[in-house]
């Protein structure tokens, strides 16, 4: 063979030389093997590291819909007019060449040219220090980018659009491979004008980003919750991205509670960059999976009617809550907390003014008053006490004389009901303290506690909105120590050591209406894929999940229901005035109600405010809707809250007869 022939040759110097050449080639071979085979992977990783920029692309967030498919929250395309820096690298270079200082050189050509008498002087770029070159490069970039921005501002007639060198520099240094958004959230007019004028330059283009929109504004804001800017990787995603596109995370309400469902799964794309860091190419290696839609049990029309009623009757800054619930299924049709906030304001970021209002110590728009605040129930709790007494054998027709007050030991309790004889019906519709305290003490606290336990007072519903308080209700353990008749008397009129939420009261009211079934309230009907053609099955949350039974005979409930009906229909009733003209309307629902006015005291037992209540269900004949209205403030349950409920029943009646919008699409039986 050629090689070994040379090595075996009987010619020592040439043999030596052949050995050296062979050795040298062997070293190169080994070197190549080491670099390309052994370290190949490593070098490939290095190539990827310097050429790939991974970008986290958030998925399109799922919608939140009401029970009829009306959109409460959705992601709409928003247009950014953005500058693609990689298209400018040539322009940057040209501008740099123009800016670069030059020196004129004489007699610098090659000798033969000089002999020919040509090229005596010419211009040559001056030698610059590194820092000077960098400074000049920045000036060139500012010049080019500034010009484009000015042009764009003129085209779009947006004088407020000015070139900000600092922002440009930041983007250039940190996010060079991504487009630089010049106009965020361009209006349709701006987009049209931009497209009409052919984009103003090859480096400008429209960029589509999803934008979260709450089309109904403040409606159901507390249920929906809001988002906050958060680009971090969720669990199960790639952890280290080079760039992250803006993403949001739900913090409150359904947006918060169902964040994982709504968010979907962020995708990843890789941008290939050249040695200057400009984008060269990009490919998606993991498409984003869109989030799923959450369908609520809310009916937007009921929700809006309830909000309107509260606003109209109490005022725009009303501090209160309304719950409308279907008494047979437990579906929450409306869950209002006022004052509310506009979740749109949180995107892209909440302003200072909104933030200040959100943290107002009196209005406290952040808390969901329907589920998150402890309230003394006051007189509406007399319904429970009444049932307990009936269970203990109270004859509803037996009359008790009420002198207008009652003494518990030496403590004087005033009775708002006038002096006179009271049976069960009259006591409930006039809300007599004397009657219920007297009978409550007679039947004993244990029976009241038992009913409260079956109503699951003092317990959470574990709502997905995460804004919830358990309230407080005494247990046999509480009662076994340091509990006096005074405490029982307080409990009988819904004061003292008891705290409830409007939603708990709605469940209680529904139980009176539906024959004693304590239901789980249902707020979310189902989770379904965003794509209606998707094969993926929807996740249904069953309606009418029974939590407990009151264990009260039907005839006791009938007595209670009749007494509650009398509250709105008997001229003596506390809610009669509110419903008087309503009942004159044709087809008016017969409403069973109970008013309540609880005093809120500070630790020194001074009255600092009132919780006004009205609980109701209708129609009397076959109850469907339970409505609970709570307002913090002055007045009484009958004068402040009952009119709100009246408006809601009126609206419910209209909505019932009107066909549901888009019922064919997503109707819930």
């Amino acid at each position: 063979m050629l090689i070994f022939d040379q090595l075996k040759r009987n010619d020592p110097p040439l043999r030596w030389l052949a050995a050296v050449v062979l050795g040298g080639l062997g070293v190169l071979l080994a070197g190549l093997w080491w670099v390309q085979i052994v370290q190949g992977r490593e070098h490939q990783t290095r190539v990827e590291n310097q050429t790939f920029r991974t970008v986290r692309v958030p998925a399109v967030r799922g919608k939140i819909l009401d029970r009829h498919g009306r959109v409460l929250a959705e992601s709409r395309p928003a247009y950014n007019i953005s500058l693609y820096l990689e298209d400018l690298s040539g322009a940057f270079k040209d501008a740099y060449r123009r800016l670069r200082p030059v020196v004129t050189v004489t007699n610098d050509g090659p000798f033969w040219k000089r002999w020919l008498g040509a090229g005596q002087t010419r211009v040559r770029p001056a030698r610059l220090k590194r820092a000077e070159v960098q400074e000049l490069e920045w000036r060139a970039r500012y010049q080019v980018a500034g010009q484009i921005v000015t042009q764009l501002a003129a085209q779009l007639e947006m004088p407020e659009l000015t070139f900000n060198p600092e922002e440009f520099r930041r983007h250039y240094v940190n996010r060079r491979a991504l487009p630089w958004p010049l106009v965020r959230g361009a209006t349709p007019q701006q987009v049209a004008r931009f497209l009409e004028q052919n984009g103003g330059g090859p480096a400008l283009d429209l960029e589509v980003l999803p934008l979260r929109v709450y089309p109904l504004g403040e409606t159901a804001a507390h249920v929906l919750g809001h988002l906050t800017r958060d680009d971090r990787s969720a669990e199960g995603e790639l952890a280290d991205y080079f760039y992250r596109l803006p993403d949001y995370r739900g913090v409150l309400g359904v947006e918060g509670g169902f964040d994982a469902v709504l968010r979907g799964r962020a995708g990843a794309k890789a941008v290939v960059v050249n040695h200057l860091g400009y984008r060269q190419d990009e490919h998606v290696w993991q498409p984003a999976e869109p989030g799923r839609n959450v369908v609520l049990t809310l009916d937007a029309r009921v929700q809006q009617a309830a909000e309107r009623a509260l606003r109209r009757r109490v005022g725009p800054e009303a501090r209160g809550a309304v719950v409308v619930m279907h008494v047979q299924t437990g579906d929450v049709l409306a869950l209002v907390s006022s004052p509310a906030f506009d979740p749109n304001r949180f995107i892209p970021q909440i302003g200072l003014e909104d933030y200040a209002r959100l943290n107002d110590p009196v209005l406290r728009p952040q808390i969901n008053r329907a589920t998150q605040e402890n309230y003394a129930p006051g007189s509406i709790f007399k319904t429970v006490v009444g049932l307990a007494c009936l269970g203990a054998g109270l004859n509803p027709d037996e009359k008790i004389f009420n002198p207008g007050h009652i003494y518990i030991g030496r403590r004087y309790i005033h009775d708002t009901a006038p002096a006179g004889d009271y049976d069960f019906r009259r006591a409930l519709l006039r809300s007599s303290n004397t009657y219920f305290i007297t009978n409550g003490l007679r039947c004993g606290v244990t029976r009241i506690l038992e009913l409260g336990r079956r109503l699951h007072l003092g317990e959470r519903f574990e709502l997905p909105t995460r804004q919830e308080t358990a309230g407080f209700f005494p247990t046999p353990r509480t009662v076994s120590r340091g509990w006096f008749d005074g405490d029982t008397a307080n409990l009988c009129i819904g004061q003292g050591r008891i705290a409830v939420t409007p939603l708990q009261m709605a469940v209680m009211t529904a139980a009176f209406a539906n024959g004693g079934t304590v239901l789980w309230p249902r707020l979310v009907a189902r989770i379904e894929p965003q794509d209606p053609l998707s094969e993926e099955p929807a996740l249904e949350f069953p309606a009418r999940r029974v939590r407990d039974h009151l264990g009260v005979p039907e005839r006791h409930l009938t007595i209670l229901r009749e007494a509650m009906l009398a509250d709105t229909e008997d001229p003596e009733g506390t809610a009669w005035a509110a419903f008087r003209d309503y009942y004159r309307q044709p087809g008016a629902l017969r409403v069973c109600g109970k008013t309540g006015t609880a005093q809120v005291t500070d630790p020194h037992n001074r009255v600092i405010g009132r919780n006004l209540w009205f609980i109701a269900f209708a129609p009397y004949e076959s109850p469907r809707y339970a409505v609970v209205v709570l307002v913090e403030g002055n007045g009484s349950g009958g004068t402040t809250c009952a009119p709100v409920a009246r408006d809601i029943f009126e609206a419910l009646q209209k909505i019932e007869t009107a066909p549901p919008p888009g019922a064919t699409l997503t109707s819930i039986p």
Binding site: P13, Q36, R46, D108, P110
Partner: protein, 414 residues
């Protein structure tokens, strides 16, 4: 008739004078290398050339092909004349080359292409690099000079004249400065003297002395405090520092400020950038490479476009063809080198033998230094890869060198 013709053939063949024939495997290997060269000069430059709106005849891969054709013609021309005749003109060629090397140092005649080193003579449409021809002229002259009987080489005067023949172009090329081109003269000259039969004792002492000097220089560059450093071009010092993996900041004066240290670090990044990117390119090729024209290091500009097609052409090749391709290239070089050695063994006379040895050593040194540099085995020096790197002078010089080998082979002994 058939038997008659057969008899004629059988009788005539052994009697016929041996046919003068070319070294076909070597030509095949050179053709293979030239094909690789054309392909990868194309791969490294076509995007830039076509993009910058040059006319097709200005495209670099086209020019390279033209140079290959011219080089082939020159090689044929060199082959046509007996090397002994050529050798008679060797001193003329040598001194002419020395004159050109001298001229290139004169500013205004030599140009630097903006690189800071005066290596080229501008001839209007083409630039000419005298050092490429000086190497050949040196081989010719040295072979001629050393082809005298070995006994004469024992005389100190003859020995030192031989050394002087080598040192003169070495010094002139070093002055340009072009350390790489100068360095390849040393192994070439020494190998020729070794094969010529110059006294081993002298040669070993010489090599030992030069080696010790080089070692001292290296120690000085790498470790000496500022006051003790010998004068070197800054970039040469930096290249050595990069090669030996020294931290630039370790050479800073003790009272250096943070800004100065940062500048040094930046300089280190800049200086080691090309080699790092070259070895990333070579390594990322893996076993089979990314495919012709699909190398990202070149396309995305990480391998600077100014060097990708000449000194670092091997990186482009290795990235796109992988270990398979780079070993193929190595094998082709092996064929050229070993056929060259065979030629040396079969040469008719000492002159032919020395010529072949000179050419083989020259080609080998360049291949070793260039490929070694691409995989960080050798420090960065501007040595082109023979037959592959873009550049007229280099291609022409390499093909003429092949012509000389073929010339000697053609006229080998019986």
């Amino acid at each position: 008739m058939t038997s008659n013709a057969l008899a004629q053939v059988t009788f005539e063949t052994p009697l016929r004078v041996r046919r003068r024939e070319l070294d076909r495997p070597q030509i095949a290997a050179v053709l293979g290398l030239v094909t690789f060269g054309a392909l990868f000069v194309w791969s490294a430059t076509h995007a830039g050339d076509a993009g910058s709106g040059l006319a097709w005849f200005e495209w670099r891969w086209v020019r390279q092909c033209v140079w290959y054709a011219l080089g082939a013609a020159a090689a044929v021309a060199v082959c046509a004349v007996d090397y002994r005749t050529l050798a008679r003109w060797s001193y003329v060629a040598y001194w002419l080359a020395m004159l050109l090397l001298g001229l290139v140092l004169v500013p205004g005649i030599g140009t630097s292409h903006g690189w800071g080193a005066l290596r080229w003579i501008d001839l209007g449409p083409v630039q000419f690099q005298p050092s490429e021809f000086a190497k050949l002229a040196f081989i010719l002259a040295a072979a001629n000079y050393l082809s005298r009987p070995p006994e004469e080489l024992r005389q100190a005067r003859v020995f030192w004249t031989g050394i002087g023949l080598m040192v003169l172009p070495f010094g002139l090329i070093l002055k340009e400065p072009d350390l790489g081109s100068a360095l390849v003269l040393l192994p070439t000259g020494l190998a020729m003297m070794f094969v010529a039969g110059a006294p081993r004792k002298y040669l070993f002492r010489l090599v030992g002395g030069v080696g010790a000097l080089a070692a001292l220089l290296l120690v000085d560059v790498l470790f000496a405090p500022p006051g003790w450093r010998i004068k070197l071009e800054e970039y040469q010092r930096d290249r050595l520092l990069v090669y030996f993996g020294r931290d630039f900041t370790s050479l800073a004066p003790p009272n250096a400020t943070a800004a100065e240290l940062e500048r040094l670090r930046e300089r280190q990044r800049d200086r080691s950038y090309n080699v790092r990117q070259a070895s990333i390119a070579v390594g990322s090729g893996g076993l089979t490479g990314k495919g012709l024209g699909r190398g990202t290091q070149k396309a995305l500009g990480f391998l600077p476009p100014s060097v990708a097609h000449n000194d670092f052409i091997f990186s482009v090749l290795a990235e796109e063809t992988g270990f398979v391709g780079s070993v193929s290239v190595l094998a082709l070089y092996a064929v050229v080198l070993f056929t060259g050695l065979r030629t040396a063994g079969q040469a008719r006379d000492r002159l032919g033998r020395l010529l072949a040895v000179g050419v083989v050593t020259l080609l080998f040194s360049q291949v070793f230094i260039n490929i070694g540099m691409n995989i960080r085995l050798m420090p960065v020096t501007g040595v082109p890869l023979p037959l592959l790197s873009y550049g007229g002078s280099s291609v022409l010089g390499s093909l003429i060198a092949i012509g000389i080998l073929q010339n000697v082979y053609l006229r080998r002994k019986g």
